[in-house]
């Protein structure tokens, strides 16, 4: 009976996790747009889905985020990373582009096939644990 008892106990323990865990899927097209946040100067900025500022992301502890990132900046590579998240085993979703993280190439018809593959690869399977707050930024090579 011991295995059954263990199975029941582990199921009960994991129940709250199952209740709380959710997956949030987001489509982010990184795009240029313009903004004048200080009222002094209108300038080109990098935004998401044509808007600036980029939207905040809010999750619950233990949730999974799948962020599909599409680089539509035309002229530069880009990448996203977070501050404050453990990326144990998912180092390639963190840190500097070209060092530990793959490039997100700009749209380029010559590399259309490669790009499509990259875009599909650019999901974040990070299970968010232990951290409660972080900041998204971007790196440039």
């Amino acid at each position: 009976m011991a295995p059954l008892r263990h199975a029941v106990i582990s199921a009960l323990i994991s129940l709250p996790l199952l209740v709380y865990s959710a997956t949030q899927s987001l489509e982010w097209n990184i795009t240029y747009t313009t903004a004048n946040p200080d009222g002094l100067f209108e300038r080109r900025v990098m935004g998401v889905n044509g808007n600036w500022p980029p939207p905040p992301i809010e999750l619950n502890f233990g949730d999974r985020l799948v962020l599909n990132v599409n680089n539509q900046l035309d002229d530069v590579v880009t990448g996203l990373h977070t501050h404050g998240l453990f990326q144990n085993g998912t180092n390639y979703y963190d840190g500097p582009v070209g060092v530990v993280q793959w490039y997100q190439n700009p749209i380029d018809s010559r590399h259309a096939n490669i790009k499509a593959a990259l875009h599909q690869a650019r999901v974040w399977p990070t299970i968010l644990q232990f951290s409660r707050m972080a900041l998204i930024g971007s790196t440039l090579t």
Binding site: P37, V48, M133
Partner: protein, 171 residues
């Protein structure tokens, strides 16, 4: 330096279902230096032999929640969790609220014991959560000030206002 001073950055909040602190509402507050020059132009100016002292670009403005002179709602007697995030590139911010103490409860995603401060400094990429209880008054609004620390600027250009504030709107 990179693309985030060009605007590609945003808050990333993970809520704790077993939140150990009690508060009525939470407000995300980002602080950022702001540059009129795009980083693709600012970086070559910075990383060049013509800049042997390594003088960093000086920001033109200070932003709170990516704007200026905004407002946040403060209901008398209610306790707010303010999530301060410095999403800027260079400048540290001094942050305080007129007439209100702040109780620090979290630093960079880690809870702390509650610790009361009159104000705090927030370096680039730092995250701090504070609890603030709105004063029991509805006849006055209070500025929440974010002032860039200009000590690290090689010079402070004439006309630069290193401060920005958000008014609490009392109810």
């Amino acid at each position: 330096m990179g693309q985030y001073p060009d605007g590609l950055r945003s808050p990333f909040i993970i809520h704790d279902p077993n939140e150990p602190y009690n508060y009525d509402e939470e407000i995300i507050m980002t602080f950022s230096d702001w540059y009129h020059k795009e980083m693709k132009d600012a970086i070559p100016d910075f990383l060049t032999y013509k800049n042997p002292t390594g003088a960093e670009p000086i920001p033109q403005s200070a932003l709170i929640n990516d704007s200026q002179n905004g407002t946040i709602k403060f209901e008398a007697g209610k306790t707010y969790r303010l999530r301060f995030i410095n999403i800027g590139a260079f400048a540290t911010f001094h942050i305080w609220i007129e007439g209100h103490d702040m109780r620090v409860i979290e630093l960079d995603g880690v809870y702390t014991e509650e610790y009361t401060v009159p104000g705090l400094d927030l370096a680039v990429a730092q995250r701090v959560s504070v609890l603030v209880t709105a004063l029991n008054t509805t006849d006055q609004n209070f500025p929440l000030v974010g002032a860039m620390d200009t000590d690290m600027f090689d010079y402070v250009p004439a006309g630069l206002n290193p401060s920005n504030y958000i008014s609490t709107r009392s109810y």
